[in-house]
Symmetry: C5
Subunit: 95 residues, 5 copies
């Protein structure tokens, strides 16, 4: 999984039939020091996250293992909202 | 998923049997600020997109989860046409 | 899929049993302007391509979706010989 | 698999239902000379590792092949604690 | 598949149960000119390779398609020992 900041939303009305009903969030990747890596991804959201929250997301076939994304052409999914992480005993982020 | 601009088409007459009937579009990856990242990909198109449209595409096994691409040696598929996205409340793209 | 130029062949006599009978081609990745990206890959060839041809290849589990590569430890496969591609109306390559 | 140093933990209370009960560790990737590569990942931990240990982790669908991670939206898993590795006959790390 | 040089071994006694009995080799990636790319990976070895040999390895779900690695949390496997490869008619490596 990767850490990422929820920064926005993406609207797509015309979609493959199997993507109907899946909300898309725009995420910026974070490194372990809570700095942007420069990478970004559009992930589906089965949890209901808000802009400004830090999340964990999964890629690839694992992104089809939620109820919302099963059997869909979806390759990135938010799987948790991060409360806190620490590195070497130092807290790098608290919600 | 990744954001990308549809820039062209690829013609391949001699293909693996399982790729017959799959149209290929040339895509340039976009970052969240609607700037090219430098990356590109050839994706199959089950929707019928046009050059100049911004799309979402999926990679890997998820790219085989549309009716058109099921069980095919296809590793990238367009799954939606983007109408709009915003980052931090700022609209970065409107169709 | 990615565009690539067929540049050579790889011979491996001692292989995992499931790779016997699979020919390997050396490919150099091309960008949409028909320039080498610097990347390369060894892909199996179910079509019968020749050096100097431009091909499309697929990676990951999709590379096991041809008759030749089914259930094999193969993660890259040639899936088409490119006749032509264009970007923004400009032809970038013709066979 | 990749070599990585266990550097911390990530807490996420609100998760997709299928991620409940999976502990997340923060890992820094190591190269073969036991130097950080700059990459990092959050991996689930079915073994019970401690900070400061060097581990092997797997990505993608292979990260769902442990008892703990089966059928979960999990794309990285710790699969071993490294005792030692050597390169060219020189020991690069001993626990 | 990628070309890589076998440079060493990795010992991990404490492993996920499903990784017991799988030997791990340290590999350095090679480009088509037989130069190190700077990348490296730890791959399982179902063939029995020796240090100094050049091999082909597969990643992802394809790395679980050998008898040794089936259903294991393994994401990289050696699938052949390279005897020779040529690029543009020039031999780049002979065993």
């Amino acid at each position: 999984m990767q850490l990422a900041l929820v920064v926005g939303t993406v609207v797509a009305t015309v979609k493959d039939d199997k993507m109907v009903g899946v909300p898309f969030m725009a995420l910026r990747d974070l490194d372990l020091d809570n700095k942007p890596t420069g990478g970004s991804i559009i992930a589906s959201d089965p949890i209901g996250v808000n802009r400004g929250e830090v999340v964990l997301y999964s890629k690839g076939s694992s992104a089809r293992q939620t109820e919302m994304t099963r059997d869909r052409p979806n390759d990135a999914v938010i799987c948790g909202i991060v409360d806190q992480w620490e590195v070497g005993g130092e807290t790098k982020y608290t919600k």
